[in-house]
């Protein structure tokens, strides 16, 4: 721990006669401590936890940490392989620095480099190609390559400029596969590589993967949606023509700037169109899309067929029902007709029977001589017949027949009267007639 407090008050002078073994005397020990929980938060706690878990003391931990840090630096160093430059590059003129890629010294592949922030590759180059060094080593004093290095460093250190360079760094591109190449089962592999390279320009990360023949419909849809709505950070400032620096030609400068701006816009549009075409091409050759479409069609067709079948079935069922209903109706009509006819006959028969029975009834009272001795007076006949008619009016055909049966074989007036009285009583009890209506059979 490097921090320490300063105290200005001086230490006391050693009293006379003070002595201790090795100048140290332990006198007491520290008071008992309280147990508390410390909060597991912050860098200092992490250090504490590291020490506690590995049972290190402060000085041990300091040493181990220092060692680890030192190791890291070394690893970084060894990662920087000093590879020989392409001789043609060394002959480059400083003016052509743009064509010298800033990454030329890096051993990493282009895509890997996009992930790293390090801009170290040029550092060692400087050591090697500095004009002074070259001169000392007996070389020429040509510093054009050194200027290229300087420019490259400038680009790599500035995140904006670096991004501009990355935008136009085509070496990381993977050419879209030709139809022929993509034919024999390599389709997914080749296009995956292409889109992986394209994905580096996306503002939204991570970029969905192209997938393979096993990808689900959702994944494939997500992929194509993503690339059709691609949000790219790619810009083309790096390919600008140089704007003259002098103050004199302002118009010229503005003209150049405008021109550059238009060129950038144009390139951006072209790039979008290029990507769109790329996606179109990929989609056109994508067996998965065809498969999904077929599946969708099949399911759609199936639905359609099902629907039609269902409609047909429904229609048939309806027709059947209709025919059945008509037949039923016809049957019912015929039946009704027959019934009506038989009913008519029955009714006529019944009517005749009733008439006959009524005659029997009237005859019975007549047989009984209207329940009087000797010649019956008209009034008595009327009274009896009125009663008979009253009763006849209230009883139906069956009852009439029943009553007539009872009366048919009776000859004695008393018996006949008994039957009539019983019948009248039954009707009064059933409250079909009133007692007052009956005169003779009461």
């Amino acid at each position: 721990m490097a921090t320490h407090a300063n105290v200005n008050l001086p230490l006391p002078v050693l009293p006379e006669g003070w002595s201790g073994e090795k100048d140290f005397k332990a006198i007491g020990s520290i008071s008992a401590a309280t147990q508390r929980s410390i909060e597991p938060v912050g860098p200092h706690f992490l250090a504490h936890a590291r020490r506690a878990r590995h049972k290190r003391t402060f000085s041990e931990d300091d040493r181990i940490q220092a060692q680890e840090n030192a190791k890291k630096v070394e690893d970084d160093d060894s990662g920087e392989i000093s590879e020989p430059e392409d001789p043609s590059m060394l002959l480059r003129d400083a003016k052509d620095w743009k064509t010298t890629t800033p990454y030329s010294a890096s051993p990493n592949t282009a895509t890997e480099r996009l992930k790293t922030k390090s801009s170290a590759p040029t550092a060692k180059k400087v050591l090697k190609h500095h004009p002074d060094k070259r001169a000392a080593a007996g070389g020429t004093e040509d510093d054009s390559f050194f200027k290229c290095i300087q420019k490259a460093t400038e680009v790599l250190l500035d995140p904006i400029k670096r991004r501009q360079f990355d935008s136009v760094d085509e070496r990381a591109d993977v050419e879209p596969p030709s139809k022929k190449a993509a034919k024999d089962g390599k389709y997914y592999k080749l296009w995956s590589a292409t889109f992986k390279a394209e994905g580096r320009f996306s503002k939204v990360q991570p970029v969905p993967k192209f997938g393979d023949e096993k990808s689900t419909k959702e994944e494939v849809d997500a992929f194509y949606n993503f690339f059709y709505n691609f949000d790219s950070w790619r810009s083309f400032e790096y390919q600008d023509e140089d704007v003259p620096d002098d103050n004199e030609n302002r118009d010229q400068k503005r003209h150049m700037e405008r021109k550059n701006n238009n060129a950038r816009k144009k390139k951006k549009t072209e790039d979008s169109a290029r990507l769109r075409k790329l996606v179109d091409d990929a989609m056109a050759g994508d067996a998965r899309i065809k498969q999904f479409r077929q599946e969708a069609n099949a399911s759609k067709n199936k639905k359609k067929l099902d629907k039609e079948q269902a409609e047909r079935d429904a229609k048939e069922a309806k027709e059947k029902e209709k025919a059945k209903a008509e037949q039923d109706k016809k049957d019912a009509e015929e039946k009704a007709k027959v019934e009506r006819e038989s009913n008519k006959k029955n009714k006529e028969q019944a009517k005749a029977a009733v008439k006959k029975n009524r005659r029997v009834m009237k005859g019975s009272v007549k047989d009984a001589n209207y329940f009087v001795e000797g010649e019956a007076p008209a009034s008595a006949i009327n009274a009896v017949l009125a009663d008979v008619e009253t009763i006849q009016g209230k009883i139906d055909a069956d009852e009439t027949a029943e009553l007539a049966d009872k009366l048919r074989d009776l000859k004695l007036a008393a018996d006949i009267k008994k039957v009539w009285t019983a019948e009248a009583k039954r009707l009064v009890d059933a409250s079909k007639i009133k007692e007052s209506d009956i005169k003779t059979f009461a």
Partner: protein, 549 residues
């Protein structure tokens, strides 16, 4: 959702994109660490850095934050607010007062749920508080993902110090459902302090800090001992009586009374008027925290009558006196509970949390910059520290076996000027409540003429000396007396050290004139002490061990 869950569980340390979330009962905020290891609070899509912890549904569409807050007026039945404290609780143990003007909590299978219409044209559904929290966290996660351009999959979340294990696991589950791996749950005051100590100008020092959070629905105060960057909570207090809503209430009553005077109707009696009054009171309160004057204006407050008024800071402080005093008493109570005196509090930095105005500090003035963001920033810092570790590593490091350690009861230091225990001046090297193992180094001047010096290691206790009248002379302890600016002649309180037990003596011989002696004290976990004393710049030195008690 399956992909989300998979990412929450299966993220390896290298793939983690971690953020800090301050999940408050009233407001939440999210912070990320930028590439230069600075934590910053980020705004959501509405541009709010303080995102109200409210979620609302209108015609099946989900609204969150400030937009949801507006729905409290028209659509309070489908708006869920103040739900954080319901997480992992029984229905019986919650206080639903604050949900009076939003969706009401109900009991539902041993948990708490809300009945809200969260889908278009269907029956209102019952949504558990865990699901609500998940939806809220998912929105926060989405905001952070949009900001960083990467899918956020893990987080450090702040919690109040009195969260139970059940509440913690409920919160972790809700976060996991939202696709967030909870790296760690850290205490709110500690998170704030961590962010505060991460200022570039701050130094690692031993200090006692009061973190006071006057929140929306609750107030939390914690006294934290910060010893060499290691934090120990000495005491906490939680209060539901003196919180932001009570300050709102004061303003509501104030303006409601005024409104009655003009229009004869009480806006507090109508649900919608009350909601408007509440929202505007809160806005006014926040405006008063910044300026000395604030407007209060509501269109159609009640019965179609508009209302506009202003209030100044002084008036507000007068009417809110009761709440503010209560809050101050709370702070003083906690300091006492921690066994300290207000004079022993070195920093009182975060007294103003979002809801508050000036809170007078017991000893020093609040020093924090934008205190409302501290918690989230602290969480983000912690997230950036631990996101490289395996989940198992984190678990082991936060295990009680590691976090529970001995703390010194007395300060340990050296005596200056004279070796006589009754007269020497105690200079603390290790303060009381320092977690052991601990190591501290100090440099002490030697007497002017140099020569042999005595290093006397002693224990020291501090106590508060109360002098009845303005002392004519100080008894040599002037450097220790706190900068007590408003000296009252009757009573003067100062902190003095009392020399306690002598632990060891050592001598450093032949020091140079104007030289310095470095004393290093190393207290091991079992309280054994190693003392090293040597002259700065010289070789050798004295080294001795005091055995454990």
């Amino acid at each position: 959702m399956s992909a989300e869950e998979a990412s929450a569980q299966g993220a390896t340390p290298g793939e983690r994109v971690a953020i800090g979330i301050s999940f408050g009962n009233s407001n939440s905020s999210i912070a990320v660490t930028s590439f230069d290891d600075k934590a910053e609070v980020i705004a959501n899509e509405d541009g709010d850095r303080q995102i109200p912890t409210i979620i609302s549904y209108v015609d099946g569409e989900e609204y969150n934050g400030q937009q949801a807050k507006q729905q409290l007026i028209r659509n309070y039945k489908n708006t869920v607010a103040y739900f954080r404290d319901y997480l992992g609780q029984d229905f019986k143990s919650i206080d639903p007062t604050h949900s009076h003007f939003s969706a009401h909590p109900q009991e539902h299978d041993s948990t708490i749920a809300f009945t809200i219409q969260d889908k278009e044209e269907s029956e209102p559904s019952t949504v558990t508080v865990s699901e609500i929290a998940t939806r809220h966290l998912r929105r926060l996660k989405q905001s952070a993902s949009d900001y960083t351009g990467k899918q956020v999959n893990s987080a450090v979340i702040t919690i109040p110090t009195n969260f139970s294990e059940k509440q913690k696991s409920a919160l972790s589950k809700a976060a996991a459902d939202a696709g967030l791996e909870v790296l760690q749950l850290i205490h709110e005051p500690v998170a704030a302090l961590l962010a505060y100590d991460a200022r570039p100008e701050s130094k690692v020092a031993d200090k006692n800090v009061v973190v006071a959070d006057l929140g929306g629905t609750r107030s939390d105060v914690a006294v934290i001992a910060s010893r060499g960057g290691i934090y120990t909570i000495l005491a906490t207090a939680h209060d539901y009586e003196y919180a932001g809503v009570h300050l709102d209430k004061v303003l509501q009553d104030h303006f409601a009374k005024d409104f009655i005077k003009w229009h004869g109707t009480d806006p507090r009696e109508d649900q919608r008027s009350m909601a408007k009054l509440k929202l505007e009171s809160e806005a006014t309160k926040k405006a008063l925290s910044i300026g000395t004057n604030a407007n209060f204006s509501v269109e159609s407050l009640a019965e179609g009558a508009d209302y506009a008024s202003t209030i100044n800071r002084l008036r507000y402080e007068t009417i809110a006196r009761k709440v503010l005093d209560g809050f101050n008493r709370l702070i003083e109570g906690v300091v006492k509970k921690a066994g300290l005196d207000v004079l022993e509090i070195d920093e009182n930095f975060a007294a103003i949390f979002p809801e508050s105005t000036a809170i007078l500090a017991p000893s020093t003035t609040p020093t924090a910059i934008n205190p409302s963001e501290l918690q989230a920033r602290g969480a983000a810092l912690q997230a950036s520290l631990i996101q490289e570790y395996e989940a198992e590593d984190i678990d082991q490091s936060t295990h009680p076996a590691v976090t529970t350690v001995k703390h010194l009861t007395n300060a340990v230091g050296v005596l200056s000027i004279t070796g006589d225990e009754s007269k020497g001046i105690f200079t603390p090297i290790l303060s009381a409540e320092t977690a052991v193992p601990a190591r501290r180094t100090i440099h002490i001047n030697v007497p002017k003429e140099g020569g042999d010096v005595l290093v006397k290691i002693v224990e020291g206790g501090s106590h508060i000396k109360v002098t009845k009248e303005e002392p004519a002379k100080t008894n040599g302890n002037k450097d220790d007396s706190d900068e007590d600016s408003d000296d009252e002649p009757e009573e003067r309180r100062e902190k003095v050290w009392k020399v306690g037990k002598v632990l060891a003596e050592a001598s450093v011989k032949d020091t140079k004139k104007g030289g310095k002696v470095e004393v290093m004290i190393n207290v091991a976990g079992d309280l054994a002490v190693t003392v090293t004393a040597r002259e700065v710049g010289a070789k050798g030195g004295v080294r001795g061990t005091i055995s454990a008690p």
